[in-house]
Structures are given as C-alpha cells and as structure tokens.
C-alpha cells in the first residue's frame, strides 16, 4: 500500500515521466502486498521484475540494434539493408531469432561438452550483471552499489575466462587461435579502460556511479554542461575510454578475434544455433554496458545538456546519449579496416597506456588547482606537450614510407 501514494505524490508533476521505469516493480510490489503476502516476498518479487525489465529492455535494444546496424552499414556502402521482412525490414530481428532457435545444435565430437555449453552462458551473465549498476535515470539505478565501478570491472574480468573456455572446449585450430588473440586483446585494452576511469574516481572521490553522475550536474558559463568530457583530462581520458570500449567489445576496427575473413569466427567457430545467438547477444549487451559506463563517467549520465531541457525525463537523456554513442561506433565500424593483431597490441601498449597514465596527474592537478581557469592553465600544457611529442615520434617512425621497387619495371 505504500507504493501507491509514492506514485501519485503531489510533488511530482503529472507530466513528469520519471516514474515510468520504476512502474513494473512498483506494480508487482503493490500486487503482492495487496494479496496479503509477506514483505520479503514483495521485495524479492519487485527485484525480480526490475531485473526482468532491465534484461527485457536491453534485449529489445539488442534486436533493434542488429537491424539498425545492418541498415546503416548498408547505406554507407551504397546499398539498401534488409527490407523484405516487414516494412523497412523491421521484423528482420524476429526472423533472425527464429532462424537461430531452429538451427541444429552441433557440438564437435572431440569437444568437452560441459565447457562448450558453459561458455556462452558465462559470456552473457557478466554483461547482464554489469547492466545492473548503471544509473539510467535520476531515481533509477537497478542496484545502487557503493563500489559500483569496481563491481563493473570485476564482472568484466569474467568474460576473458569464458572466451578461453569457448576457445578451448571446441578442440579446433581456429577457436584456439581466436581465443588467444581475443584474450590478449581484452587484457591489453582493460588497462587503458581502468586507468581512464581512475581519473574520474580521483576527481569525484567516490566509486559509486549514481554519485559520479550527480556530481556532473550544473553548467559552466550558463550553458556548457559540467560533464567530465569537457575538462582537459576528461577529453583525453574520454577518448581513450571510448577507444578501449570498442576494443573490449571486439568491434571493428578491433574485431580481429572474430573477423570472418581472418579466422572464420574465432572462438565462436564451432558454435551453432542458440549458443551462437547467445554469444552475439553477450557481445552486444557488453557493448551497451560498457558504453553506458562511458556515458556515466564522461558524458554526464542522465544529465540534460542544456539548462532549459530539464522537463525531458532523465532516462530519455541517457538513452539518447547511448544511441548517439552507439551510432558513432557504427559509423566507425563502417569506415575503418580491421587492424592486425600486432598493430592492435602496439596501439594499446605504446599509445593508449602512456596517454591514459598521463591523465592521472592531469586530473589530480586539475582537482587541486581549483576547477576553474587555473586548473585549465596547468593541465592543458601537461597533456598537450607529451601528446605533441608522441605525434612527432609516431609521424617519423610509423608514417607510411615511400618504397620504390627498382626491378619491378624491367
């Protein structure tokens, strides 16, 4: 009975849709209490419904994204995407789902069936767990943990083991190679990810994600939002974080472990039917989770970008930013070729890690020199000068060289 007055509280204007994401949970709790069942059952039922809401929303977003990705990639490549199933191909994910479900589940005879079965499950579970700590709205974090960021990285670490299991259990060359490359890529790119996030923790003073978002409220100069991206160290750390996002999610241009022309499907080669669909879903859910984290840390989470736009519900802003970030990832996928494994590793260890290490003293300087003009004045040279030195070195050593083959025209 306590839920109903909360919903209809007079302090909340009727057109403010902030309560919408919480609605299923509140409804179920109210129903259980109405039926006279004990309090703890209501809580558990509410939590279960909240979990199902999160998973349902993001599974639907995954289905939609698979279609939008295909159509956007197609339009960039001067062709139409899927447009046969339903108007504009909107039922294509349904057709894909049916196809995946009805395919035969083939397990190689020499494979270890238990690990083979466990691996796709252990790829989806960390992604769903990670989705639970991200603040989607002003009053809607599914699990507001005090150590939310640490929890996120801890469950992300489980993904690497499951990729290894997938590669090992299918006793075959391509999965083994793919698993090796995937693990080395994920381990290498986790470092810039965590170092970039560390700067945010230093400045915010807390690991709790709702707190970090709340501290990015307010506007400088009246119209520039106080997001972490609009600070000198935040810009660098944000770019590093988003590049590491693409690499962690195994997306182009870092999708060597699963590129078809390189290694068939990498660690997913020997999987068919629903297990393959689970891998696919785990990859995309992980992408949502990690870009959600990036938005929380650097793009202000559910904060509105301009002062007058507070009437739009906060979760709308979050999903708008998520769509923008995913669109940029799609754009990048449509544009760039795949990088080789040695180029990948070289980029992570020689470029991203030094740059992300630089953001740590820059963030500390910025925080302690006052966040205004003096902070900018001190931090900008600290970041710009090494960057310039790095780029000059890269230009000299790694620029494309002119090669002339004297004997080619004899």
């Amino acid at each position: 009975m306590s839920a109903v007055p909360e919903l209809l509280s007079p302090s909340v204007p009727w057109w403010d849709l902030e309560w919408l994401p919480r609605l299923p949970q509140r409804v179920v709790e109210w129903i259980v209490q109405f039926l006279g069942l004990p309090e703890w059952l209501a809580q558990i039922a509410g939590m279960a419904v909240a979990a199902f809401t999160v998973v349902g929303v993001f599974a639907g977003a995954f289905a939609l994204l698979s279609l939008i990705e295909r159509k956007t990639l197609a339009r960039v490549q001067n062709r139409l995407g899927p447009n046969r199933v339903g108007p504009c191909g909107i039922l294509q994910p349904v057709a894909d789902g049916i196809k995946m479900l009805t395919k035969e589940d083939i397990v190689p005879a020499r494979a270890e069936w238990f690990l083979h079965l466990l691996a796709p499950v252990l790829i989806v579970v960390p992604a769903i767990l990670a989705l639970g700590v991200i603040p989607y709205g002003k009053s809607w974090t599914p699990v507001p943990l005090e150590l939310g960021l640490l929890f996120f990285f801890a469950v992300g670490a489980m993904t690497e083991l499951s990729i290894f299991m997938a590669g090992w259990a299918s006793v075959s060359k391509f999965p083994m190679l793919g698993a090796m490359r995937a693990i080395s890529q994920m381990v290498s790119y986790e470092l810039p990810l965590m170092l970039a996030a560390l700067g945010v923790v230093m400045v915010s003073g807390t690991m709790s994600l709702p707190e970090i978002v709340a501290q990015q409220g307010g506007f400088h100069l009246g119209f520039i939002p106080a997001w972490n991206l609009f600070t000198p160290w935040g810009l660098v750390a944000g770019v590093v974080f988003f590049i590491a996002c693409i690499a962690e999610a195994n997306r182009c241009p870092f999708d060597l472990p699963e590129g078809e022309s390189e290694i068939v499907a990498g660690h997913m080669t020997e999987y068919s039917g629903f297990k393959y669909a689970l891998f696919f879903m785990g990859e995309y859910l992980g992408l949502f989770a990690i870009s959600g984290l990036g938005i929380t840390l650097f793009l202000g989470g559910w904060q509105a970008p301009l002062p007058g736009l507070g009437f739009v519900p906060s979760w709308c802003w979050f999903f708008a930013k998520l769509s923008a970030v995913i669109f940029v990832f799609l754009w990048i996928r449509a544009t760039f070729p795949r990088v080789r494994i040695d180029q990948l590793m070289r980029f992570a260890w020689l470029c991203l890690i030094p740059v992300s290490l630089l953001t740590l003293p820059a963030a500390a300087l910025w925080h302690h020199a006052g966040r205004g003009f003096s902070g900018w004045a001190l931090t900008l040279p600290l970041l710009a000068i090494p960057w310039l030195i790095l780029t000059v070195t890269f230009n000299k050593r790694m620029a494309p060289q002119t090669r002339r083959f004297h004997y080619a025209d004899s």
Binding site: L115, L145, E146, L147, L150, F151, F153, A154, V155, G156, A157, M158, E160, L161, F164, M165, G167, W168, M176, A179, M180, I183, S184, V187, M207
Partner: protein, 167 residues
C-alpha cells in the same frame, strides 16, 4: 554460520579438483572456480572491497594468466606428466603438517565470529587507501618494484633474438 557452510564446502571441492584433476586445463579452471568462490565468501562476510578486488585480480588476472600460459605452450591437453605424482604418503603429510598446524592453532585461539556480518564495513575504502599510501607505502613500493622486475625478466626471456630489419 549455516550460510557459509555450502560455500566453504564448494571451495574445498574445487580446490581438491584443482589438485586432483588430470588435465591441466581442467585443474586451472577448477582453481579459478575456487578463487571465485573465495571472493563470494568475502562478499558474504561483508568485505565488499576485498571480495570484488579478489574477483578482479585473482579470477580476472591470475587465472587468465595461468590459462594463457597453458594455451601458449599447448600443455593443456597432456595429462600423462601431471598424473605421475610421487607415491609417498609420508612426503605429503610432511608438507601438509605445518599448514594444518597453523590453521588449527588459529581456529582454537582466534576470536569468536560475530553472530551476523556487520552491515557497514568496519574499515572504509578511504581508510584503506590512506593506509596503503602512508603506513604501508614502503610495502606497496617494494611490491611494485618486484612486479616490474618480474615483467622485465619475463619480457626478456620471451623475446626472440633480434633479426636485422631492413629499413
């Protein structure tokens, strides 16, 4: 106490599996499982930070390192070398005796467990951080130096002889 028994049992079982299983990969994955369950135990005891760090460091880094080493050297399949264990019971008991003695002494002399885990951690995260960088800073620096030395040594060992690169 009742709540912790299943977790402890599972930890023991997976640790036994890590030692007894024939294939190295299975043993490594069992070890990862026992480390993950230890993290779960820490979380159940209310030590959130340690539990999550245990998960991130042990399962996410150490276990991955071990399986990666198995993968790179392709020793994961061979079970013949591992199952050639020394048959001497006396040697095993002699190795296990000091550890068992320490555990039993600690159990007898240690303080009684509180009835329920505290809701708030007794030592907060900022306290831990401050302690690490003030009182325990020398220890942290020494560990960092040791890790750096290990990394450099490993890189040197793993390096192939430099070939003349054409410029």
């Amino acid at each position: 106490m009742i709540l912790y028994l299943p977790i402890l049992l599972l930890i023991l079982l997976s640790a036994l599996g890590a030692v007894w299983l024939a294939k190295p990969v299975h043993a490594a994955l069992c070890m990862a499982l026992s480390l993950a369950l230890t993290a779960v135990l820490y979380l159940a005891l209310g030590a959130h930070f340690i539990g999550l760090v245990q998960f991130m460091v042990y399962v996410g880094a150490v276990a991955v390192l071990i399986v990666f080493a198995l993968l790179m050297t392709r020793r994961g399949e061979e079970s013949s070398e591992i199952s050639a264990r020394p048959r001497s019971w006396a040697l095993g008991l002699a190795c296990a005796f000091p550890a068992a003695a320490m555990l039993v002494t600690a159990a007898i002399q240690g303080a009684a467990l509180p009835k329920s885990p505290p809701s708030e951690p007794q030592v907060s995260l900022s306290d831990l951080g401050r302690l690490l960088f003030t009182d325990y800073a020398p220890a942290v620096l020494v560990v960092a130096l040791v890790l750096t030395a290990v990394l450099i040594g490993a890189a040197l060992f793993a390096r192939e002889p430099q070939k003349d690169t054409l410029r």
